[in-house]
């Protein structure tokens, strides 16, 4: 065999070995929900356009994912190239330079098309640190038939007093119909997401401008007393262990007159395959108390790139694809407009086809009614509607949530729960150096 032939065989073998390694592999950490799973199914479109990029998925339950990506990014583990994170993490991680800025996404991405409230929640010092995959607020979902039977009409923008009146009129405990279903399960993303947003509408706030906890204020007392009274009188039994899924089950099986929760639930409760009340659901804005703020939150599951990733350019291509207008059109063509990820782009809400989706208008109105930069009636030193964008918040709010959940379970009074919340928050904040 000549030297040339050997050299050619060697080169061919090397090419064969090196061939598969040419494809760049992206590891994407994501949560398990309908929109994310749909995206995984549609990624052939991305890999067809980018044959040199392979995708690997790590799908985890939301709280496990949050802990895993926090751990990985803090320790610079470099396990993920794209992370699914929320509006709580982005301001904190962006400020720490843990995320790659997305200011240089291509012009056809049309960053100005992102909804201002959502974009603002994902921007730190002028840098967009995450691209929103879907956005959500919270709103009132109610049974139109029960409301009619009660002789009431749900306004488009109800007050808390109306909600209480309607809950009383719709409750029929003998037939296991409860006027109102709200979150009671302890957790910063569970009952505290709801109660913090509700507190905003009652004029409550977590901290004053000096970072002093405010659970000893009249506004918090009014919030918690109203919530406990509403739930104890017209809520389902065992509500202190109800989160999103438990309330979704109750509503879908016809046991709730009203449910105030994430706008993303609208597609579930109106889906006739899973919901027994699909054709009887109406929507309204989250309630207010006449103080200028509504009790709705703002959240966006977003795609971000950790600063330790070795594949930043490929990751940017993926993030741009998954959050683009083209992706929206792709989902619409394959699965219909009702299944398009909501709440991220202005153009979606200008689309005549999407406008026909029954919950589209209320979703965008709810998102626009939330302002993460000015979430409360009185001024505060923090951003975030249903959270305070500081690293200590998740731990503190989970403890406070346990106190409030215990109050709902009847284990302590509202005054005791608030006193404990005040004390533990003050201790934690002092220990954190505030």
């Amino acid at each position: 065999m000549t030297f040339l032939a050997r050299a050619l065989m060697g080169a061919t073998a090397l090419t064969l070995v090196a061939g598969p390694a040419l494809a760049e592999k992206l590891t994407i950490a994501t949560v398990n929900n309908g929109d994310m799973i749909r995206m995984q199914k549609l990624t052939d479109d991305f890999t067809a356009k980018n044959p040199d990029i392979e995708l690997e998925w790590v799908t985890l339950e939301e709280n496990v994912l949050r802990q895993r990506v926090t751990q990985d990014i803090a320790a610079k583990g470099g396990q993920f190239d794209v992370m699914t994170i929320g509006t709580y993490e982005v301001p904190i991680w962006g400020a720490q330079d843990w995320l790659v800025s997305l200011n240089d996404l291509p012009a056809d991405y049309d960053v100005d098309d992102l909804l201002p409230a959502i974009r603002s929640g994902l921007t730190v010092d002028g840098n967009l640190y995450a691209a929103p995959f879907y956005g959500e607020s919270s709103m009132v979902m109610y049974r139109k038939d029960l409301m009619e039977k009660a002789g009431l009409t749900m306004p488009e923008a109800p007050t808390w007093d109306f909600i209480k009146e309607a809950a009383a009129a719709m409750t029929d405990k003998d037939n296991e119909v409860y006027g109102i279903c709200l979150r009671g399960k302890a957790g910063w993303g569970e009952n505290m997401a709801f109660l913090t947003a509700m507190g905003n509408s009652f004029g409550a706030r977590w901290f004053d401008e000096e970072w002093k906890p405010q659970f000893d204020s009249q506004a918090w007392s009014d919030t918690l007393t109203f919530y406990l009274d509403l739930m104890n009188s017209y809520g389902p039994p065992g509500a202190s262990s109800n989160g999103f899924n438990e309330n979704l089950s109750l509503f879908q099986t016809g046991k709730c007159g009203m449910w105030i929760d994430a706008t993303v639930a609208a597609s579930f409760v109106t889906n006739p395959t899973d919901s027994q009340v699909a054709d009887k659901v109406g929507f309204a804005l989250a309630p207010d108390k006449g103080l200028g703020k509504r009790g709705n939150w703002l959240w966006a599951w977003s795609l971000a790139i950790p600063a330790g990733s070795d594949s930043v350019d490929a990751a940017k291509k993926f993030v741009a694809w998954a959050t683009s207008k083209d992706y929206t059109a792709l989902v619409a063509s394959k699965e219909g407009w009702a299944n398009v990820p909501p709440g991220t782009r202005t153009s979606l809400y200008e689309n005549a086809e999407y406008a026909k989706v029954p919950f589209a208008k209320m979703t965008i109105d709810s998102i626009n009614a939330a302002d993460p930069k000015s979430p409360t009636v009185d001024p505060v030193p923090y951003t975030g509607v249903q959270f305070v964008a500081i690293p200590e918040f998740a731990g503190i709010a989970t403890q406070v949530g346990q106190e409030f959940s215990a109050a709902l379970a009847g284990q302590q009074s509202a005054a005791d729960a608030l006193a404990k919340a005040q004390s533990l928050t003050a201790d934690e904040m002092e220990a954190a150096g505030y």
């Binding site: 590891t27 950490a29 949560v31 398990n32 929900n33 309908g34 799973i37 995984q40 199914k41 690997e56 998925w57 790590v58 799908t59 985890l60 339950e61 939301e62 709280n63 496990v64 895993r68 751990q71 320790a75 610079k76 583990g77 470099g78 396990q79 993920f80 993303g189 569970e190 989160g243 999103f244 899924n245 979704l248 089950s249 879908q252 099986t253 046991k255 994430a262 993303v264 579930f268 395959t273 899973d274 919901s275 027994q276």
Partner: protein, 276 residues
């Protein structure tokens, strides 16, 4: 002389044993039943026990969405590897403690057990950093080592208990016949302790198979075992109970089958030495 037991008493005892067994098994049965329901049937109130339209839809969805065999293979390697490695280390250790005890043997045994008293999360960060330095994150070999270390105290304790039941004189006789230490452990001690070793191996495979803390924290895509497979179907925002049940059923099926076929050995090993 054996005590006479009346038929009535026997029937009551049997019924009680079956009731307790059914109670313990019920969550698994319910998971399996739910895996054959639609999502709407899974949340029906009152709950549906058997009277529902059985469907394989959830299994089809799980198969379509996840590469089950990859997760299964990782579980087999991690659980099998850690148990094998742990047993290889534990047999000589337990032999030494059982047959050549020193002044501090009891203290060492207690110290080993005390490592199980520390919550795993207490050492998560140091181990995570070590794994980053050694390039072991998301690797099967890393998990084999960690799970071996986690279960080693249990393996040593179990083997020590079994070895203590074996008369030392038999080993002495082997030594007098000229057996080396290796031969003594391999050809005399091990065959006599087979039921104990078998049950120790089986129990540790089950423990390693079900381990969810380290397997979720130290893996991402490549080395993720069936615990990560189950976790990917859990969601606080969306009803995935039927799909989650299908994923759980697929994850526990192999270990359930293994346990079913080896139950004789398990029971024999766990009751080894109970009657003298």
């Amino acid at each position: 002389m054996a005590r006479r037991v009346s038929t009535r008493r026997k029937a009551i005892t049997t019924l009680a044993a079956w009731s307790v067994g059914f109670l313990i098994f019920f969550p698994i049965l319910w998971t399996v039943l739910t895996s054959f329901k639609t999502e709407a049937q899974a949340i029906a109130d009152p709950p549906l026990f058997l009277g529902f339209d059985w469907t394989l839809e959830n299994y089809a969805v799980v198969q379509e969405r996840s590469d089950y065999l990859r997760f299964l293979w990782n579980s087999v390697i991690i659980a099998g590897g850690s148990t094998l490695l742990g047993t290889m280390v534990a047999i000589p250790a337990a032999w030494a403690m059982a047959f050549v005890p020193g002044k501090k043997t009891k203290d060492i045994l207690l110290w080993m057990l005390s490592t199980k008293m520390l919550p795993a999360v207490g050492v998560l960060y140091p181990i995570y950093l070590i794994f980053i330095q050694l390039g072991l994150l998301d690797s099967r070999i890393g998990l084999v080592v960690v799970l071996m270390l986690c279960n080693l105290p249990i393996i040593v304790w179990m083997l020590y208990t079994y070895f203590k039941e074996i008369p030392g004189e038999i080993l002495e006789a082997a030594r007098m016949d000229g057996a080396t230490l290796r031969e003594e452990i391999l050809y005399v001690l091990t065959p006599m302790a087979v039921p104990g070793i078998a049950s120790t191996i089986l129990l540790n495979i089950i423990l390693a198979w079900n381990e969810a803390f380290w397997t979720l924290n130290l893996t991402a895509a490549k080395a993720a075992p069936l615990t990560a497979f189950i976790a990917s179907y859990s969601s606080p925002e969306g009803l995935f109970y039927a799909k989650l049940s299908a994923a759980s059923t697929l994850a526990i099926a192999p270990i359930l089958i293994l346990g079913w076929f080896s139950q004789k050995q398990l029971v024999r090993g766990l009751t080894f030495g109970a009657v003298k």
